[in-house]
Symmetry: C2
Subunit: 252 residues, 2 copies
């Protein structure tokens, strides 16, 4: 049996997210069909992050088990030939049987793009949130400092039916905001794990600080208050990209 | 009567090009409909460049005449509210009645993007030509030097029914090739005017030089030979963007 790890990229605009659903197109279903066609067997796949509808990925990590002897190169070329161009296999690696894409992940990094100019260029309309306001970058960076480290992030977690967490304590390892050309900003957020819509709620809250709708001093109070309604809005899905997942080095 | 100049951007993937046609969606038709709805009158528009199907624009220049008194700001906001998000009005300016977007243009600059890596990231799939070969940048830059200045470009002009040129002499003012992240390249080509598919034929020919299918020494011979078949292929439309049009400064 082989345990194969794939790093994949996708533009999620046309998809209902990672997870299989009969409601419409989803990345997991498309990838499983392509694998089935190639391997002539059903192989369930596991992904590190079940990205939501409209969310993109540059470095999603998935794995599957197979008895097939197809070399990795042929598998990658075959998959990219079968997959639509908005989903690409970037690399393949054979892992120890014990490898699990979620359990072995040390951290995940998400990027969130915001366009603050009065008009958003058409080329980035599926990849960034158009929020045409002057944002105070210094205030947003100060507020980001308050979110770094271990905190109870209940105020930045959305409710979802059937989803229960044992606790809401998570650790944000890195939170950087970088200005890009055309009045765009990139938020880079790295954490060991995230609550439901936590990244988009962090961005929505920081944008509220940038607009002056919240102050830097509000941010620690929002965390300790644990009330979702006190924080900023959930930034829309299309600005979010799963950028990179970090693993410990494993020996085959 | 007012003569209004617009600078517009569009992602042309879903369109059959600039020009009005009953065959399917086109930028000119969509823009004219929005203007008609806003101004309550039919206003024919003129564009500097009739971009082909799939071609994009960052700085297309168009004009129209109107008796409407709507201020420019209201016109811009109204148009952007009516237009689909893949077409944006970037700026508006009131011009002398004599202004004509084609006749008054001093030069046009096109950008062409190429992705040379084995896998093209999904995010640029509509914006760059995936040609997964190692390209010799030094050879391509030397060949580009041979195309600079005034030449007969018949060998780099495609045949089109009903289209006749008095002569094929054109002037290339600038031709630069810049490496970008992710093994992409940007070709920047500025000229006073271009023949049919000349920019895409220049790129296709330079890519052939980069791949070693043509040599630098072939390029001047291709120009003097005037045979289209001796040059490289026509690079596909989706890598091409009309970037900028330069005008002389006019007093209102």
């Amino acid at each position: 049996m082989r345990n194969i790890k794939l790093i994949i990229a996708y533009e999620g605009s046309k998809y209902l997210g990672w997870q299989k659903t009969s409601m419409g197109p989803n990345i997991e279903g498309v990838l499983e069909s392509a694998l089935k066609q190639l391997l002539q067997e059903e192989v369930p796949i596991q992904a590190c992050s079940r990205t939501d509808a409209g969310v993109h990925a540059q470095g999603q990590v998935v794995n599957f088990l197979t008895r097939s002897a197809i070399p990795l190169k042929g598998l990658g070329n075959g998959l990219n030939a079968l997959l639509p161009k908005e989903i690409r296999v970037l690399s393949l690696e054979e892992m120890p049987l014990s490898f699990h894409p979620t359990l072995d992940a040390l951290s995940k990094t998400y990027h969130y793009h915001v366009c603050t100019g009065p008009i958003q260029m058409p080329f980035v309309r599926h990849l960034s949130w158009h929020t045409p306001y002057l944002l105070d970058l210094v205030a947003m960076r100060e507020a980001a400092q308050c979110l770094l480290g271990r905190h109870d992030f209940k105020a930045l977690c959305n409710y979802r039916k059937g989803l229960r967490y044992e606790d809401y304590v998570r650790e944000v390892l890195r939170l950087e905001i970088t200005p890009l050309p055309d009045r765009r900003l990139r938020f880079e957020i790295e954490g060991s794990s995230f609550l439901y819509k936590m990244v988009r709620n962090i961005v929505g809250t920081l944008v509220y600080v940038g607009r002056g709708k919240l102050t830097v001093a509000d941010v620690p109070l929002i965390l300790t208050g644990k009330q979702r309604s006190a924080a900023g809005i959930t930034a829309p899905s299309h600005g979010l990209t799963l950028a990179h997942i970090r693993y410990k080095i494993m020996k085959t």
